[in-house]
């Protein structure tokens, strides 16, 4: 073990120690290595004679923190926590590396285009299922979705195995496969569950937009008619009614315009959110590879 490895391992396990104690102890060990180096000892030799940093950390905690009978459990807990932290960091870095490698690979291929074609097919099937009222189209959409997700993940895995930097034992490969299945299932349920909310919100927005346009148009028609009637004098209605109709029409038009504008903005926002949601899901799939 080298000096920095030893010192880092030691410091990581010094949880629950007062800051000055911790600093001073780390300095002591630093100095020990320095003096040892001056006496021509190797870092590995010094580290070996110092002992196991985890055990030393345990001793330090025993000497310097308020000790109770729960000490053994506490030490176990601390060591487990540090190991878990290291593991998470390791997975995160590995995923980051994999994504970076994939991005470099994909720059040639038009992978994105491929995927969105299938997405359109799925959307088309959903619309068909709504229009026709037949569930079979919905079922088809789900099947295509799962199929494309599996294909996508398989392609990514192929890309990974090409990369020599990534060490994978059979255990990891097995757990990768398990997690891909889990991810596909969760995405499927995600899809089945959220799609209904998404559709109902979409329909509401569409109907609101249509109502807005209808209001706008009716206002415009009233305005137009009253103006025409006032000008031509050939109408069963009296002038005062026509004038109030004119202003009512104007009011309706303005209101309709505002109404439509508002819901147009909301619809745009809705589609932006949908895109982000899909993106997030895709990132989630990649990360857990």
């Amino acid at each position: 073990m080298r000096k920095t490895e030893f010192l880092n391992e030691l410091e990581e396990h010094l949880i629950g120690i007062a800051k000055d104690d911790k600093e001073e102890i780390m300095q002591d060990y630093e100095e020990h290595f320095k003096v040892g180096a001056k006496k021509k000892r190797t870092e590995a030799g010094i580290a070996k004679s110092l002992g196991n940093p985890k055990q030393i950390a345990r001793d330090i905690r025993k000497e310097l923190s308020k000790t109770t009978e729960r000490d053994e459990l506490k030490s176990e807990a601390i060591e487990t926590f540090v190991a878990a932290k290291k593991f998470t960091k390791h997975i995160f870095n590995e995923s980051k590396n994999k994504i970076e490698n994939l991005i470099q690979e994909e720059k040639g291929r038009n992978r994105k285009g491929e995927f969105s074609k299938e997405l359109w097919i799925i959307l088309g099937l959903i619309v068909l299922s709504i229009i026709s009222g037949r569930g079979i189209f919905m079922f088809g959409a789900v099947v295509i979705f799962v199929y494309s997700a599996i294909k996508y993940i398989k392609k990514e895995k192929k890309g990974n195995s090409k990369n020599a930097k990534i060490k994978s034992t059979s255990k990891k490969a097995k757990s990768n496969r398990k997690s891909s299945i889990k991810i596909i299932l969760s995405l499927m349920f995600n899809f089945l569950f959220f799609i209904w909310f998404w559709i109902s919100i979409l329909c509401t927005l569409i109907s609101l937009l249509i109502s807005g346009i209808a209001i706008l148009l009716s206002g415009a028609i009233v305005m137009a008619y009253s103006i025409f009637a006032l000008i031509s004098y050939k109408t069963p209605l009296t002038k005062d009614i026509l004038f109030s109709a004119l202003f009512a029409g104007a009011g309706l038009t303005i209101f309709g315009g505002l109404f439509t504008g508002l819901f147009e903005k909301l619809t745009k926002l809705f589609f932006k959110i949908t895109k982000k949601y899909i993106e997030l899901n895709m990132r989630f799939v990649r990360k857990w590879e």
């Binding site: 104690d21 020990h32 110092l50």
Partner: protein, 101 residues
């Protein structure tokens, strides 16, 4: 040597060694771990504790061989504690000897 003996006696060894003269960290650790077989790393926490308890004090001294080193010396209460521990040990030794005979 049994670990229980070692642990009980380390404070005594550290304090007595420092009673004779001041040592710097590395030197002290080497000396003690040579005679009593303990892993060197476990001594620094003991030194830190003894310092927190007021028995030791530290100072930096320039060294010809490189950076300045941290030297450990006994405080007044450290000297008293050293004496006390030595008496307790002698006493203990006598009693155990008696049983072993």
């Amino acid at each position: 040597m049994d670990t229980q003996f070692k642990k009980g006696v380390l404070d005594l060894c550290v304090l007595s060694t420092l009673r004779k003269k001041d040592h710097y960290g590395y030197e002290l650790v080497q000396k003690i771990s040579m005679d009593i077989q303990i892993t060197e790393g476990t001594l620094y926490p003991i030194l830190r504790r003894l310092k927190n308890e007021g028995y030791l004090q530290t100072y930096l001294r320039e060294s010809s061989e490189g950076p300045s080193r941290k030297y450990y010396s006994l405080t007044k209460s450290g000297k008293d504690k050293a004496k006390k521990l030595k008496t307790e040990w002698k006493d203990f030794e006598r009693k155990v000897d008696k049983i072993l005979r």
